[in-house]
Amino acid sequence: MKLPLKFLLPTLAFAILVGFFVVGLGRNPGEIPSPLIGKSAPAFSLESLDDPASNVTPTDFAGRAWVLNVWATWCGGCRQEHEALLAIARDNQVPIMGLNWRDDRALALGWLTELGNPYVSVAFDPEGRTAIDWGVYGAPETFLISAEGVILKKRIGVMTPEIWQREFVPLLQAKAGAG
């Protein structure tokens, strides 16, 4: 039996449309891929959150892999992921630097006292300038930076122990194995 084109064409068009929907609906439109993956981590030198007289910069971790976590006290997701960050810090595999984004110093310090401090150091970015250099658009965001200073991975949204194990740890181990 030969189906007439009149039926075949609309069916084909519909199938293509469904294909687009299946792919499109499976995506999270809030997650915009960062062009910084595979590039050198942007340099910065910011005041330390707990000591305005001293500066925090990525070169503090020169020669070793590290994590940059963007957070703020106004960010609900940051409170949610705090426990996961504390666990990663306890694991002691990789140092975490905090980037306190568009926040109030006193509030931020209070938060760390109350919830615990997973960070080796926290850079204070009240004007959000360094955040723009890192392409940050919504806290929490978590970057993994290699010992060579290259951004390997970016997580947009709440970090969980599962995501850390699945998406970050293999990258860390691959790097450690190669080095």
Binding site: I32, S34, P35, R102, E127, G128, Y137, G138
Partner: protein, 144 residues
């Protein structure tokens, strides 16, 4: 008359509204350039708004950034590059033409050609049918 004045005033009012008075250029040409730029940049938090329309914190930071880059004398292209290096092409409301976006940019033309092909096929088929049976296009004779 009063109604007319009110109607005209209402039509003009959106032009006068500005989202913030933080950054302005005294030179109207520069101000126009600034407005054009920020209307063409997407706010990544509220993705269907430009950074000119959005009240999000990030949008106001990006407006400040654009303003500062303009003050430094950077060109529009340099400012766009500055932002795409950090946020990707998604920050542009007008994505650049490159292999990844060929399909996107050519889609309207492809759809038009597709439609024209379908119309052409139907017209050709009807013309063929009319040639085969010259009376097919004639009106039905009145029944009365």
């Amino acid at each position: 008359m009063r109604f007319l004045i009110l109607a005209v005033a209402l039509c003009l009012s959106p032009i006068a509204s500005a989202i913030d008075s933080g950054q302005r250029f005294d030179d109207p040409a520069l101000q126009a350039r600034y407005e054009r730029l920020i209307h063409d940049l997407r706010c990544l938090v509220c993705q269907n708004e430009s950074i000119a329309d959005s009240n999000a914190m990030l949008a106001s930071d990006l407006r400040r950034e654009v303003h500062e880059l303009m003050v430094e004398g950077r060109t529009d292209a340099e400012i766009r590059t500055f932002l795409t290096e950090r946020y990707g092409d998604f920050v542009l409301y007008r994505p650049p033409l490159r292999p990844r976006t060929w399909l996107l940019w050519s889609a309207p033309i492809l759809f038009l050609l597709g439609g024209l092909t379908v119309v052409g096929l139907i017209v050709a088929r009807r013309a063929r049918a009319a040639r085969a049976n010259p009376h097919i296009l004639e009106e039905e004779p009145d029944q009365q």
